[in-house]
Every structure is written in C-alpha cells, then in structure tokens.
C-alpha cells in the first residue's frame, strides 16, 4: 500500500481523491467539502483537512496513514458579477394604472371624467363620469350612491376603487360597469380629468387601452399625441384590467440611464456605453479579442464595478492594483422589475438592464504557503502538482467513451474554464467570465426576489405547485401526495422541492414564468460561454473539428445545463455530456483524480 491523496482547492469546493499507487493507481475513496476562505489563502487549510478526514473515514483509515498529498496549482482566476439598469419608466402627473387586481368588477370599457363618490350629487345629469371610491366608504354605501346617481341620469361609466371591493360593488349595481380595485394611492388620482377604465372577461386581456389607436379613439388624440402614448399602451399589454387618465401634462416616459462606458483594450481599443446593450458589448469584444484589460469610465457605475474586482484581487495576491488585468467579460441583456415612479397602485415596469461578469488572472497564487502549513500540521509530505488545466484533462479522460483530442469545460461558480488536449497530448487552457453565480444573479433580479439563497435554490431544484393541502404537482406534471396536511402558507403557491425542505416562492409569477426565467438565465450564460470557450480554444476557432467535449464542475451537476449545452453542440456533431470521472464520480473530482494520476506517471518516469 502506498496511499496518495490528490487535493483540489476550488473557489467554492475542495475535492479529494485517495488512491493506492503501489502497482497501478487504484482509487479507494473521494470527498467533497466547501472551500474555507478565499481560494489560495491560508484559510483553505481547514477545508483541506476536513476533506481529507472525510475521504479517510470512508475507508476506515486515518489521515496519518497517507503517504503523500498532491495539491493543485490553483488557477488564479476570480470572477465578479454586477448589474446595471439602463432604462427607467416615469409617470409624470399620474396617468396610468396598469396593475392587475385579482378580482376586478364588471367587464367592458367605460369613459368619463373622474369624480369623487361624494361629489356625485353635484353632477349634472347626462354627464359621463368615472367614480373614484376611497377605502373608507363601505361597499354597500358606495353601490347605493352609484345607483342613486344613475337613477338621476348621471352616466357612471366606470369606477376606480381603493379597497378590494370591485366584485362586491359590481354585484350591487343596477347598471354594470367596469371597476378596477385595489388602487392603493387613490388620493393621487387627478380629479375632473378624462379617464378610461377597461376590464376584460376572465381568461382574456384588455384590447382597447393596450392599443395606441384605441387610446387615440378614447381620448380623441391627434396623431402627434398618439405617438406619445406608446409607452402607456405597451405597459398595459397582457393586463386583465387597467385605468388610463388623461391630464394636460400627463406623460409616461421611458428614460435611458447612462450607466457609464466600458473600455476594452485588445488588438485595438473599444468604448461601449452600457446602455447600448450586451450584444454591442460582446460584438465589440470579439472584434478586438484577445483582451488585455478592461476598465470602466471613472465615476460611473461600471467604473466602480471594475475597480472593485481589481481591489479584491490585489488584496488577495499582494500585487499592486495597476498590475491586475481583467481578461474577460460576459455581458448579458436582462430586465429588472422596478416600481414605476409616480404609479398609483404600486405598478411595476420591466426595466432593461445589462448584467456583467468580469474575470481577472494574476500571477501564481501562494499555494506553497498552504502546502507548508499542511505539512507542518499533518506531518505528511505535500507537493504542488502540475497545472490545473492539465490535471483536469487527465482526470476527465477517465470518463468512459472519451479520447484525445478532447475539450473539457469546467462550469464553475465564477468562471467557465476550458482546456484542450490535442492528439499528441499538448494541453492549452483558457478562462471565461460568467458561470453559475451569474445565473443565480439573473434569476434573482429578473424575478425581483432580492434573496440570493432563494435564487440559488430556484436554479438547482425543480418547481412544483401546491394544489391542495395534501398534494403538489411538479413542473413536469407529476403528482405527489402527503399523509399530513402541508402548511397553509404553502397552499396554492409555487414552491421549490429540495430533498428535505419545501420553500414557497413569494412572488405572483406563474410557475411557467419562473421556469422560463430560470432556463433563459442558464442559456444566456452557459450556452453562450460554451460556444465562446470552444471557439477560443479550438484549433483555428473551428468547432467542426472537435470530437469530445466533457463537462465538469459544480454547474455540470445542474439538472438542465448539460442538456442545454449538448443540445446546442449536437448541431456540430460533437459528443458532449457530463463527465463521469473514473466511471463513478459523475462530473466531479476531475482535478483531484488528475493530480493522483500525474504523480503516478511522474514516479514511473523516474523509475
């Protein structure tokens, strides 16, 4: 017995492989623990010890039985993500109420001047009005007053109600009218103005107020005025109910926020405003690839973000800030639901935004310090093995069905790392910004969750809808029953089903919407990066020459990312799938396994 442990310290995860290399390497055990502290720092030692203990426990030995430890020469790559909103919707002199109460009243379109309920008595008969009803008025009283006004000849054509009383009032009216309720800030409704209230039948959406020419018809707009109502019409598309009020200066504007310029230095220099969008940024990047550095316009949001990345990296490595170079970015178009400024019912608008991931590479990380500390604590010889990319390739090649030439894509948290081994065994490697953490950020912001842990769970686990107190339906239609009633707070909610826990998702989004956002985020980051990585690392940037692509790393454990990438690559005739290291480990343990194999080879070489 000659026991050797390969140890791979990653940004998120530390992995261990233990083998007996007396004759041929015979792998006996492995483990996976969270990395303690930032990769490449002495804080890592605690995690490494824990990983070694876990792996040793599984085969009933102690760490002191090990003959030798091989540490990875960790790639000094660090990623960071950020998000910039680039549009802003502002309502001046509130004109639009586009929110979707669960239970509006009546159906149809009503047009008239806004008047308070108390003022109905003073209205001339035959006048056309939209009645505004505060929460303090009881629904019976409200209905009584509306009926009385109608009897005296006032044309009450619709109502805007503060409380959740739409159906209640409608049920008590002699002449039915469309009623939008739950309008929180009813005191901000301008009075004496022309207003239109539209409620669609259940299962349908409004058709008049979401069409600019519908608005033009209702409010007798001139062609020029019609041009100005586009944002209103757009914002109301898909709603079941809406109110639009026309005030002399009323307006809804979508403003573009200058978020700063990003400056890319490569073959040439390129400056792109963040507000020009991700596509522009990425195509400019491709024009000047490979990249030497990126900076952001000082004093702007992007500027701040780029400085933060540099700062962290500089502290970690002890290099000067100016020596830190950003070597890749990934920009992705996204949107962020944000409260509309000046809205009356807490309306949200989907603002456009750009998400950015940045990747920095520095000199060697101080792994030798970690090695020394381990040696002192464990009294076992520790060496630093070969380059991480080479080790990963060695490990990946233990996946059944693989052969050189081969590419691995290590789908991690902060970066997507790839390595290529040609027929002769020469290895090249490259790193791209953007990976699992960026997906989580996109899910978090597009769903407006403001909860990174929840977003991470949404990323990792399938969704379900609680259909009764005793059963739920998974997103694929399968049903699961329970013996005891579920908590009432889960009732009718969309939830995430973890192995040991059910977590309700506290938003009004439909299950399909959440699913679509989750899948889009994964595609935007990983399908894009897989293609970028393969192009940048393939000989001659030509995908058609590649035979095997093996996916490894934490995000290769995802229940849909590997399939998305495989699907995309199948167009090129590439065999792509999650790795299965040594036929048993799945997409994990590639580097740790490679370290062991490489050490064994080096011994043979010497012998």
């Amino acid at each position: 017995m000659r026991l050797i442990a390969g140890v791979d310290i990653g940004n998120s995860t530390t992995e261990v492989a233990i083998a007996d290399i007396e004759n041929r390497p015979r792998f006996l055990s492995s483990s996976l623990v969270k990395t303690t502290g930032i990769k490449g720092t002495p804080d890592n030692v605690a995690g490494v010890k824990k990983g070694l203990e876990e792996a040793c426990n599984k085969i009933n030995i102690t760490v002191s039985d090990l003959d030798f430890i091989c540490l990875n020469e960790a790639t000094p790559v660090i990623g960071d993500v950020a998000m910039e909103t680039i549009t802003e919707t502002i309502i001046t002199e509130s004109t639009m109420i586009g929110h979707n109460p669960d239970t509006p009243g009546g159906v149809g379109l009503g047009i008239g001047k806004t008047v308070f309920l108390d003022e109905l008595d003073n209205i001339h008969s035959n006048e056309e009005v939209i009645c505004v009803i505060p929460k303090s008025t009881d629904f019976e009283m409200a209905a009584k007053l509306l009926n009385r006004a109608t009897e005296t000849g006032v044309k009450v054509n619709g109502a805007i109600v503060q409380g959740d009383d739409g159906v209640l009032i409608s049920n008590r009216l002699k002449k039915k009218i469309p009623i939008v309720d739950e309008v929180t800030y009813i005191d901000r409704v301008p009075m004496g103005m022309m207003a239109a209230v539209e409620v669609a039948a259940p299962g349908e959406t409004i058709r008049v107020l979401s069409n600019p020419y519908g608005l033009a018809t209702v409010f007798h707009l001139s062609p020029d005025e019609t041009k100005n109502v586009i944002p209103i019409a757009r914002a109301l598309i898909g709603n079941r109910s809406a109110v639009v009020i026309r005030t002399p200066e009323g307006d809804v504007k979508e403003r573009v926020i200058p978020a700063g310029k990003i400056i890319m230095y490569g073959a040439r220099e390129r400056r792109v405003g963040i507000e020009e969008g991700a596509e522009k940024i990425m195509s400019s990047l491709e024009e000047i690839w490979p990249l030497n550095d990126v900076s952001g316009e000082p004093g702007t949001n992007v500027g701040g973000m780029m400085e933060r990345v540099r700062q962290v990296m500089s502290e970690l490595t002890g290099q000067g800030i100016s020596d830190i170079k950003i070597q890749d970015i990934l920009a992705v178009d996204t949107f962020v639901p944000q409260k509309v400024k000046g809205g009356l019912a807490g309306e949200f608008a989907l603002e456009n935004a750009v998400a950015l991931a940045a990747m920095v590479k520095t000199n060697r990380l101080p792994m030798n310090i970690i090695a020394k500390m381990l040696e002192n604590e464990l009294h076992i010889k520790v060496i630093i093995g070969g380059v991480e990319a080479n080790m990963a390739i060695l490990g990946a090649l233990t996946t059944p069905g693989t052969d050189k030439p081969l590419i691995i894509l290590d789908l991690g948290g902060g970066s997507t790392d790839s390595a290529y081994i040609d027929r002769e065994g020469k290895v090249t490697s490259i790193h791209h910004a953007g990976a699992g953490d960026m997906v989580t950020m996109l899910i978090n912001s597009e769903l407006g969750l403001d909860d990174f842990n929840l977003a991470e769970d949404i990323k990792k686990y399938p969704l379900a809808h609680v259909e009764s107190l005793f059963n739920l339906r998974y997103e694929d239609g399968n049903i699961k029953f329970f013996d005891k009633p579920l908590d009432a707070s889960l009732f009718a909610r969309n939830i995430i089903v973890k192995p040991d826990e059910m977590i309700p998702i506290p938003t009004k989004h439909s299950l399909e919407k959440i699913r679509a956002v989750r899948r889009e985020a994964k595609k935007k980051v990983f399908v894009t990066n897989a293609i970028r990585a393969l192009k940048d690392i393939s000989p001659g940037r030509e995908l058609r020459g590649i035979d095997f692509v093996v996916l490894v790393g934490g995000s290769a454990l995802d229940f849909e990312i590997p399939e998305m990438i495989s699907d995309e690559l199948s167009h090129y005739g590439i065999v792509c799938g999650s790795g299965n290291i040594r036929g048993v480990e799945g997409p994990r343990n590639a580097v740790a396994t490679g370290l062991v194999l490489s050490y064994y080879e080096s011994l043979k070489g010497r012998a």
Binding site: D102, T103, S136, F139, D164, D165, G166, V167, L168, N171, E467, S468, L469, F470, K484, P485, A488, S489, F491, A492, R493
Partner: protein, 139 residues
C-alpha cells in the same frame, strides 16, 4: 336552499358580531363564490367541521360572537385552518378570512390571517366609534 343550495360555502352563526360577519361574507363574495348562512346550536368547532363535510365545496365558516372558525373538508381531521377570536375593529382580518374561505376552493394563495392592525386602523376605528356615538346622541 335551492336545488344547488349546498354548492356553496356554509357559514353557520350563533349570536355573531354583525360587523365581523358582514366583512366575512363580503370577503367570500368578492372572490366570486356563493355562500349560505344558517344558525347553529351546539359546539362551534364541531358544528363547523360537520358543515364543511356537508358543503359540496368542502368549506365552512363558523361565527360565534367574535370567534371565527374556518374549516376545510380536505383537511382530513387535522383541525381547522383558522380558529380565533377577533376584536371588533379587526374588520380587515375578517374580510381576509372570508377571502381565504373562497380561495381554498379556488386554489389561490391564501392571505395572511394573523392579526396585523396598524396604528392607522386603530385611529380609524376610534374615530368611527366617536362619530357613531355622536350620531346616536345628537348634540
């Protein structure tokens, strides 16, 4: 009760606090589900449970003075979904319990049934009572 009388939420009452009952019923109505009100004798919890079994919608609400009980037949003997005494000013809360009675059948997320009265609500309540008192005894 007509032909389809029990295709409704059963609301059974004994000496109900009228203000709360009104809001409770309003809550059911706003969600678009029919209800039937009748009076009961005997123990409130038990009677509400039985009523939920008889309702074809599987939902019953018992109101005894200011105590409200919400029972769902599909709870399979695991007790009521709500059972508590409300203060006279907790009209919002009574409304939400009514909403939830309907939402159980509609399979829509339930609203919070815990008491969450705001300062403003208390002030409103006090003001309301003062006005009522003033109206009753003209100056």
């Amino acid at each position: 009760m007509g032909n389809n009388g029990n295709v409704s939420i059963f609301v059974i009452v004994k000496e109900p606090e009228q203000a709360l009952l009104k809001e409770l019923l309003a809550g059911i109505e706003e969600e678009g589900i029919p209800y039937t009100v009748s009076s009961f004798e005997g123990e409130a919890l038990n009677e509400t449970f039985k009523a939920s079994q008889l309702s074809k919608l599987g939902v019953a609400v018992g109101v005894w003075k200011n105590r409200i009980i919400l029972h769902y037949s599909k709870s399979r003997g695991f007790g009521p979904l709500f059972d508590g005494e409300l203060n006279g000013y907790e009209k919002e809360r009574a409304r939400r319990i009514g909403n939830n009675a309907a939402r159980l059948y509609k399979v829509m997320p339930l609203k919070d049934m815990r008491p969450n009265i705001t300062i403003k609500e208390i002030v409103d309540m006090v003001r309301e009572r003062v006005i009522a008192a003033l109206k009753a005894k003209p100056l």
